[in-house]
């Protein structure tokens, strides 16, 4: 190792720790670290900018615009209330169906967006039922992390992995869908066993839920129809993008532009407010930072270390990646973790061949997405859900959240290990 490598590694590790500690805004840290890399000559500006994966950036921007416009219509609240009424206010069924909604929504929306939309409605329903909202909030956050694993667009690690490994939307559904479904069913079973006896409410309370008029939560019917058409087109586009030679980012950005056009408001700034620029620039900074590590040769050293540890055995490497990713994601932010792992897996691909390395990619996706549930701070959706509950006077402690979520994570990682071993490999 030369001095520049040590310096680069120190900057990277310090950035990584600061990002995970969330004491300072993570976007600022990522950008500072990235441009410090350029200033120190670790990576040239041209090479640094080429490291930015625009497929990821534009896929995120496109989806943020589409979701931002759609959520204004109130359709997500509509679905939640409709669900609560469909089971006649029966609390255990509501709990399970709200988890189901969280999983399905987050397969298509960002997990944090899902939790921010659903948690307030969930608390409202629980309060109206006279129940503590805490089991509802935890279940919803945990379910959103599980559901988000199923699709290319469900979770940022998947977006990055899909782009790097050239996996399409259907690849994710086919390879990850089944294990997500299994784990979700297990989640429901656990919820049922844990809370079945605790959730008893009077007829009068249940009648309150039936009084909700969900049709009035739709704020803009015309916009809703337009959004649904565009979302239909985008999902259709995702399903066939591989066959027509298009990348998901193109589908999402085209859908976003189309929806902005037909949404009828010509003030484009209004739509662009829906884009979380902090997240976008966080990714930009990370791509440069990780690009710098690749440039320094550190990634190559690490990936060959892993391969020599597992002696090139793909099965062992895959299982190692599942558990390493699971544990790391429970402790640190899984986005920078996956960003760092991607070039390492790419390197392994060079060593063992791109088909042979495929199970490692899926292991990385599954381990890092499911692992987020390991602790309350492992996934942003958990932090946000617990934060909303806390603001409403229902404080969820780190231990209380982690007690449930880590148990579920353990089970999901075990099933994943078997799934990868028996099905994927």
């Amino acid at each position: 190792m030369n001095t520049l490598m040590i310096l680069g590694l120190v900057i990277f590790v310090v950035s990584f720790v600061l990002i995970s500690s969330e004491k300072i805004n993570k976007t600022i840290i990522a950008l500072l670290g990235a441009f410090l890399f350029i200033i120190l000559g670790i990576i040239g500006q041209k090479a640094a900018f080429e490291e930015i994966d625009w497929n990821v950036i534009f896929l995120l921007i496109g989806m943020m615009v589409i979701v931002g416009i759609t959520k204004e219509t109130g359709v997500f609240q509509y679905a939640a209330i409709k669900t609560a009424k469909a089971v006649k206010g029966e609390p255990i069924r509501i709990l399970i169906l709200f988890s189901f909604l969280s999983a399905v929504f987050s397969a298509f929306l960002d997990n944090v967006t899902t939790v921010m939309i659903l948690t307030p409605v969930i608390i409202l329903v629980a309060v109206e039922l006279g129940l503590s909202p805490i089991p509802f909030v935890i279940s919803s956050a945990v379910a959103s992390n599980i559901g988000g694993t199923a699709t290319l667009i469900g979770d940022p690690p998947n977006i990055m992995i899909g782009s790097a490994a050239n996996f399409g939307f259907t690849d994710f559904l086919v390879n990850l869908g089944p294990i997500v479904a299994v784990n979700f069913i297990l989640l429901c079973l656990i919820i049922y066993l844990l809370f079945r006896k605790k959730l008893k409410v009077s007829i009068e309370r249940r009648a309150r839920i039936m009084e909700f008029d969900e049709s009035r939560s739709i704020k803009d019917k015309k916009l809703l129809i337009k959004s649904m058409i565009v979302i239909g087109l985008v999902v259709g586009g995702f399903l066939i993008h591989d066959h027509v030679g298009l990348k998901p980012a193109t589908i999402a950005m085209f859908g976003a532009a189309l929806l902005m056009l037909i949404a009828g408001d010509e003030d484009v700034e209004h739509f662009f407010h829906e884009i979380e620029w902090g997240t976008i620039f966080f990714f930009i900074g990370l791509f440069i930072l990780v690009g710098g590590l690749v440039e320094l040769g550190i990634i190559e050293i690490l990936s060959s270390a892993i391969l020599s540890f597992t002696e090139g055995d793909i099965t062992l490497t895959a299982e190692l990646v599942i558990w390493l990713s699971g544990i790391m994601s429970a402790i640190v932010d899984n986005i920078p973790y996956v960003a760092t792992m991607i070039p390492m897996v790419e390197n392994m691909g060079h060593a063992v061949g791109s088909t042979a390395v495929e199970p490692i990619w899926w292991s990385l996706a599954l381990g890092s997405c499911f692992g987020g549930n390991g602790t309350m701070i492992g996934a942003s959706a958990n932090v946000v859900g617990a934060g909303i509950a806390g603001k409403n006077g229902y404080k969820i402690s780190f231990l209380e959240f982690t007690k449930y979520s880590s148990f579920i994570t353990l089970i999901t990682l075990i099933t994943t290990s078997f799934y990868v071993y028996f099905i994927i490999l």
Binding site: G74, Q77, I81, M116, T119, P120, V121, I123, L124, V127, R208, E211, F212, D213, E214, S215, R216, S217, K219, I388, K391, N392
Partner: protein, 297 residues
């Protein structure tokens, strides 16, 4: 600017026999037309003055009445003072002095300052008594010779100083009572020794009654039966003003111009702003003050 330099000897009518407001206006306008070469339709001007009077707000408790009109093409500011020989009853208020003014829309700024100066002078009982008992135009001008019209109308001229106040250790129940009694939507919070600490708007008070999750949902139109104020009603004895009051991020100084105040209020959508000098609250500007004391005076 000296008040006396806006007045003219010929346009001051001392101790004239006047039976009612109409008389005073007619007499004043006649004098104006006599002394000045005015090409406007006299009846039209009187009609405008009467129309403005119907809106109210032109008679003060001090005994001053200011019948006036703003006429678009009128290129000047004309002021006629008419002091009746005995107080005239206008809407139940004895009036000792009429100041009839005609102005164009363009020079309204000066005219507002004259109004503010006159209103202020009339509140000085001794001075106003001397003024209304002056026997000649010269004497009247002499009395006003050291009185000034401020160059700019400022917040100090518009603000009110008799507002209710809150203390940080009061409960929301106390605060709700004071809002109700004072019929206001804004109360400043002062410390025990009178320092300005912050403010409580009625919106913030009512907001306590709406749970956070409801605010996050954004629209509650799907709820037919919901008790929004449950929390407020249950806890109004326990929640202290200090926990819901807000820092005052936007404030005015007594020297702030009217346009500055109007800009701040319209941009921030404020109905009230505190007027602060050296960290002390000296008054509150209500947006209605701008309507009542600038736009329709």
């Amino acid at each position: 600017m000296k008040l006396s330099s806006l007045l003219e000897k010929d346009l001051i009518l001392n101790r004239v026999p006047v039976k009612n407001r109409e008389d005073a206006v007619r007499l004043s306008i006649d004098r104006l037309f006599d002394k000045k070469k005015i090409i406007f339709d006299k009846d039209k001007i009187i009609e405008e003055i009467n129309a403005r009077d119907k809106l109210g707000g032109t008679v003060f408790k001090s005994g001053l009445a200011i019948p006036h009109a703003r006429i678009k093409e009128y290129g000047d500011l004309s002021i006629v003072v008419c002091i009746p020989d005995h107080p005239v009853d206008v809407e139940g208020q004895p009036v000792d002095c009429f100041v009839v003014m005609i102005t164009s829309l363009a020079v309204s700024n000066l005219y507002l300052q004259v109004l503010a100066a006159l209103a202020k002078l009339s509140n000085d009982k001794d001075f106003f008594h001397a003024l209304t008992n002056s026997t000649s135009a010269e004497a009247f001008l002499e009395l006003t010779s050291d009185k000034y019209v401020k160059k700019e109308l400022t917040v100090e001229d518009l603000m009110s100083t008799d507002n209710g106040i809150l203390k940080p250790e009061m409960t929301l129940k106390d605060a709700t009572d004071i809002f109700y009694m004072k019929k206001t939507s804004y109360l400043p919070v002062l410390s025990e020794d009178g320092h300005f600490l912050g403010e409580l708007r009625i919106n913030d008070l009512i907001s306590v009654g709406i749970p956070d999750y409801a605010k996050m949902i954004g629209s509650l139109s799907f709820l037919n039966s919901f008790e929004p104020f449950e929390k407020l009603m249950n806890e109004e004895d326990d929640i202290l003003v200090s926990s819901v009051m807000k820092q005052s991020l936007v404030s005015l100084t007594p020297e702030s111009s009217v346009v500055e105040a109007a800009l701040k209020m319209t941009q921030g959508n404020f109905r009230h702003l505190p007027v602060i000098k050296d960290g002390e609250l000296i008054g509150i500007l209500n947006i209605m003050d701008i309507l009542n004391k600038v736009l329709r005076r």
